[in-house]
């Protein structure tokens, strides 16, 4: 993968890469992508994709609201910055 492709991918992944990291990671990413190209040899004609190993056991529950047993205060306390029961972030606009 060339450097520009890597930077575009990093931007899509919301990771700000330093220049030394770009150099270090581009080789590792390329090694893996080259390795992934092995898959082109496999004959997959007529096969459906498997999204879950044992999909037949997956279920969906009834659409009924359940109460959350965890007090919201405990969740907000884990935020890096909070104000009462609110999470504080920098301005978005």
């Amino acid at each position: 993968m060339d450097i520009e492709e890597l930077k575009t991918t990093a931007s899509l992944a919301m990771v700000e890469l330093h220049d030394d990291e770009v150099a270090r990671l581009s080789d590792s990413v390329s090694d893996m992508l080259n390795y992934f190209s092995l898959m082109q040899k496999a004959d997959i004609t007529g096969l459906e994709p498997t999204t879950h190993a044992l999909a037949e056991y997956s279920t969906v529950r009834e659409d009924i609201a359940n109460s959350n047993p965890i007090p919201s205060g405990n969740l907000v306390e884990n935020a890096p910055e909070n104000d009462g029961n609110h999470i504080v972030i920098p301005n978005v606009l």
Partner: protein
């Protein structure tokens, strides 16, 4: 009283009173100083959140037993770092279902154990906090990503620990440290409270010092959970139709194994034959595709799952940044380690528009190909015997295996994750003074077949603990 009963008495003697728990805390700290398996040690807190079990010990075999928890599994009031700086200072407000069930059975968590960041690695060297040594040889890795779990059990600090297995992360460290390691059927143990890495592949697993302990823990933690829609309806086969003598599939091609592992594979196969079980040679035509398909799917799922770490709701946040997007980008840049970034980048790339058919969709179709092949093999055999990893525990610092080579070496473990089947890694003794592990795989929900086979192979014995193991030194 048998060996298992004696060990149980020893562990209960460390957890019965406040004084005993304080003593146990000091003992873990003293012995763990040699290997650094733990990120957090607090048996007193574990006892506080454990449900005091009023039933007799006989009715509840795990009552009073201590355990370690991989630090990507939630335990209320304990930290949950996932081995990552990005979750530094995060305290879990709730219990994972597997942990909650163990607490209800009277077991108590004594601490959180080290791992490769978010479960990504094969050596536990990718932890942002510390490296863990293999208790058998401290110049070597314990394996990964559940390296802390395996090291803690092998060093006799706890009789069992929870781990997670996305591509071999329970079985490979179990093999490196000489413990049992169960990767259950996908969905048989709830993933609620396991920090997500690759949701379609990962399972909460068990590392333990005997088959009986592994089985007892699995029996407590398995079953349907409304908090995880992929958990199964507890369909574990308690009445297994496969009867002895079992038919065991053995690979015809094991090219690339280190001599000690190749020799052990042959010896284990001979031992199986000597039990009167039948050996059937099998070849896996899909084997060359399992690792690329696995890493394509795992990284794609990782890129989506780890998108939640933004510095907004929990964990670290880059300070003094006035715009929102820069804060997210810089938090992720400084919070994640190299291996995590590598996998996020790969996953983002294979999901990019224009590349999906070439990578992600193709990998999912290859996953179907692998499932079909494994299902066909299980029409002829009851279990498959495989090596766990091509080498024994390797040295620190990529001297013997680069991170890329470590990924290629997942070729024997990822098949169980891609197909969802259960697999049990078991110790086979020492070669070059280091443990070697083998694994048996069985059809979905046939954990009890694996336990039965492993009980026979181990002759009911507990594992050989590493030299200087705490529970031996302190009088088990």
């Amino acid at each position: 009283m048998n060996e298992f009963g004696q060990a149980t008495l020893f562990w209960r003697g460390l957890t019965g009173s406040v004084e005993q728990l304080q003593k146990y805390n000091k003992l873990i700290k003293k012995y763990d100083a040699e290997i650094s398996a733990f990120l957090e040690i607090n048996p007193e807190l574990g006892a506080e959140i454990s449900k005091k079990n009023t039933e007799s010990y006989a009715a509840s075999p795990l009552s009073g037993l201590p355990f370690g928890v991989k630090d990507n599994i939630a335990v209320e009031k304990f930290p949950l770092t996932c081995g990552s700086k990005i979750l530094d200072s995060f305290i879990s407000p709730y219990n994972a279902t597997a942990v909650a069930r163990l607490l209800s059975a009277g077991a108590l968590p004594v601490g959180k154990v080290n791992l490769d960041e978010f479960g990504m690695g094969s050596s536990t060297e990718n932890s942002a906090y510390k490296t863990t040594a293999n208790p058998w040889d401290k110049s070597r890795v314990p394996g990964g990503s559940s390296g802390g779990s395996a090291a803690a059990v092998a060093a006799g600090l706890v009789p069992f620990a929870l781990g997670s297995d996305t591509g071999g992360s329970v079985r490979q460290p179990a093999a490196f440290c000489g413990t049992y390691g169960l990767k259950p059927t996908y969905g048989s143990v709830s993933r609620y409270g396991l920090a997500a890495y690759a949701s379609s592949l990962e399972c909460v697993g068990v590392l333990a010092d005997s088959v009986e302990m592994t089985k007892n823990v699995f029996n407590v933690i398995n079953g349907k959970d409304p908090m995880d829609q992929t958990s199964s309806n507890g369909s574990v086969n308690f009445t297994d139709t496969a009867k002895q003598p079992y038919t065991i599939g053995v690979l015809s091609n094991t090219e690339g194994l280190d001599p000690a592992v190749a020799e052990t594979y042959r010896e284990t196969s001979e031992k199986i034959e000597s039990l009167g079980w039948k050996i059937r040679e099998i070849s896996l035509n899909t084997q060359e595709y399992v690792v690329p398909a696995y890493y394509t799917i795992a990284t794609a799922e990782a890129s989506a799952n780890l998108a939640r770490y933004t510095g907004i709701r929990y964990g670290m946040r880059e300070k003094d940044i006035t715009d929102h997007e820069s804060m997210v980008r810089l938090t992720r840049e400084n919070g994640f380690g190299d291996e995590v970034k590598l996998r996020i980048l790969l996953g983002t790339y294979v999901l990019r528009s224009g590349f999906q058919d070439q990578y992600y969709i193709r990998a999912q179709k290859i996953r179907t190909l692998i499932r079909n092949e494994i299902n066909k093999i299980f029409t002829d055999v009851d279990m498959i015997l495989m090596p766990v990893f091509p080498t024994q525990a390797f040295s620190f610092g990529s001297k013997e295996m680069t991170p890329f080579q470590q990924k290629l070496a997942d070729k024997y473990t990822v098949t169980a994750n891609l197909t969802g089947i259960p697999s049990l890694s078991f110790p086979t003794g020492l070669k070059n003074n280091l443990p070697v592990g083998m694994q048996l795989m069985a059809p979905a929900f046939s954990e009890n077949r694996l336990f039965k086979a492993a009980e026979i192979l181990s002759e009911g014995k507990q594992i050989q603990l590493a030299p200087g193991a705490m529970c031996k030194e302190e009088g088990e």
